[in-house]
């Protein structure tokens, strides 16, 4: 029990470290908010061009796109920010401290995921709030409060993919371009900014093979009331949980193997 508490305290210290560093750059949250707000503004005006087809009105597409942008913020935090954070630690030599600590690199890396996820979830909620307040996006208030646990569930479902990308950083050191590629591919097939039914038939299967699709479906339903085309809220949540449960063990094994291999090759501190 004492060891569990000490492990939790060590992980919390990493989260606190990241929070201190983040807050030491005073304009950072503001710049992230402005960036999100500009994206929302852009899609508001793009949505004015969208009438008919899959959407009954321009506002329907605007709400669709806003939730997509919000979920994309969380996905980017997972697939880009965490691997980049580990690479940054390698560059500055601070990863070595995690490696020689009793806490160890696996728990350390898991803890390093927490703050970026939390920050991205907050940014996503602010983005949605901005769209509602400034552009009058209709929010389904009766279920909107469930968006937070749903976003956390989505984050957990993205975590195994983030761990795989981080394992790649340990092995090949550079995965910035690869992370961007994966985010783009997942966004393309998951219906983040346009409905999946517009995709060619031969690629639609890919929308079911990754957690971004149920994450955006679930959040759209909870935040703006968009019906889930393929099942219920509980089914979407269940699929996210299943992605997390099935992918997490192999992702952690892959991370452990990458660390073990880098120790064996002597490349663990290289960058």
């Amino acid at each position: 029990m004492r060891r569990v508490r000490a492990t939790a305290a060590g992980a919390a210290a990493i989260v606190r470290r990241d929070a201190i560093i983040f807050s030491s750059y005073r304009l950072r949250f503001l710049s992230e908010f402005v960036s999100g707000a500009l994206g929302v503004t852009l899609f508001y005006y793009v949505s004015r061009l969208v009438t008919g087809g899959e959407f009954a009105a321009s506002d329907d597409y605007f709400a669709y796109a806003v939730v997509g942008i919000a979920v994309l913020q969380v996905l980017t935090a997972a697939l880009v920010v965490l691997p980049m954070a580990v690479r940054q630690e390698l560059l500055t030599g601070t990863f070595e401290r995690v490696l020689v600590s009793a806490l160890g690199p696996v728990v350390g890396i898991l803890a390093m995921a927490v703050f970026p996820f939390a920050s991205a979830v907050l940014s996503a909620l602010v983005t949605i709030g901005f769209a509602a307040l400034v552009f009058g996006m209709q929010v389904e208030w009766s279920t909107a409060s469930l968006a937070l646990p749903a976003a956390i569930l989505g984050s957990v479902a993205f975590l195994p993919i983030a761990l795989l990308m981080t394992a790649a950083v340990v092995v090949v050191k550079q995965v910035g371009a690869g992370s961007g590629f994966v985010v783009t591919c997942m966004s393309l097939v998951a219906g983040v900014l346009f409905p999946v039914v517009l995709l060619p038939d031969w690629i639609e299967w890919a929308s079911e093979a990754q957690p971004l699709t149920p994450a955006v479906d679930l959040l759209r339903n909870l935040v703006v009331g968009t019906p889930i085309s393929d099942g219920s809220v509980w089914e979407a949540a269940g699929r996210l949980a299943a992605f997390a449960l099935v992918l997490m063990p192999p992702a952690i094994l892959a991370l452990r193997a990458s660390l073990r291999g880098a120790r064996r090759r002597g490349t663990i501190l290289e960058y």
């Binding site: 750059y25 600590s101 009793a102």
Partner: protein, 240 residues
């Protein structure tokens, strides 16, 4: 060194040692060959350090001093051989092994620019999994021992190189390790700080801790008073 303030060492390690006659650190047949290299860096490294022994590893540039220290610190796995600290293996008993290591890499890296001196010590205390109740007292004692109290609230990126190095060394002592693994520790230290390092290290040895320090050849006596000196040559380690 501040009189009356010291860091008790090796408490956890002593409790775990099953046989007091066993060496604290034991290397046996340690071998390492870099990928795509035909000549091994080490072929047969052996070393035993009894409690209280401070040892220097020296040798020409590129003979593998840093690699040997990284192997002892559990950062690099040897191709063959045995590494044991208080009977623990870095591979099989990683957490308890690293609980006993105080590691200092060469250079000045490894600090977070935006964290203060005090925040670094708190952070490391938690990563070292010190009991929560001990972290505050360990941080206070370490600040005093390494004369960092006056700059406890200063960010790392606003420290001089010598202050940074003193903080890095303080981090290695904070969690009461039983083995110090220091790669060229005197870097950037002025005369007073070097004297402080010598005194703290000597006290660490008196209290039963072991130390393995890498220094360039010709500077063996710079850091460690009355230590054993080994030189890496031809893939092996021999007393100098």
């Amino acid at each position: 060194m501040n009189e009356g303030v010291s860091l008790p060492t090796a408490g956890v390690a002593d409790a775990a040692r099953s046989d007091a006659s066993e060496p604290r650190l034991r290397l046996e047949g340690v071998a390492k060959t870099w990928p795509k290299q035909e000549v091994p860096l080490f072929a047969h490294i052996g070393l035993e350090l009894q409690p209280g022994t401070l040892a220097v590893v020296t040798g020409r540039n590129g003979v593998g001093k840093t690699t040997l220290l990284r192997i002892v610190a559990g950062l690099i796995s040897p191709d063959a051989g045995v590494v044991r600290l208080d009977g623990l293996s870095p591979g099989e008993n990683r957490r308890d092994y690293h609980r006993r290591i105080g590691f200092l890499s060469a250079g000045s890296a490894g600090l977070y620019a935006r964290l203060t001196v005090g925040q670094h010590l708190q952070y490391w205390g938690r990563l070292a999994m010190l009991p929560a109740a001990h972290v505050r007292s360990r941080v206070a004692a370490t600040l005093e021992l390494f004369e960092l109290g006056a700059i406890a609230d200063r960010r790392a990126d606003r420290l001089s190189m010598g202050q940074r190095q003193r903080l890095r060394i303080a981090l290695a002592f904070l969690h009461e390790p039983s083995l110090l693994v220091f790669d060229e520790p005197w870097s950037s230290l002025d005369g007073d700080a070097l004297e402080l390092l010598r005194a703290v290290t000597a006290d660490f040895g008196v209290r039963g801790g072991c130390g393995l320090f890498s220094v360039p050849i010709g500077q063996e006596l710079e850091v460690v008073p009355a230590g054993r000196i080994f030189v890496i040559e031809n893939g092996g380690l021999r007393p100098l």
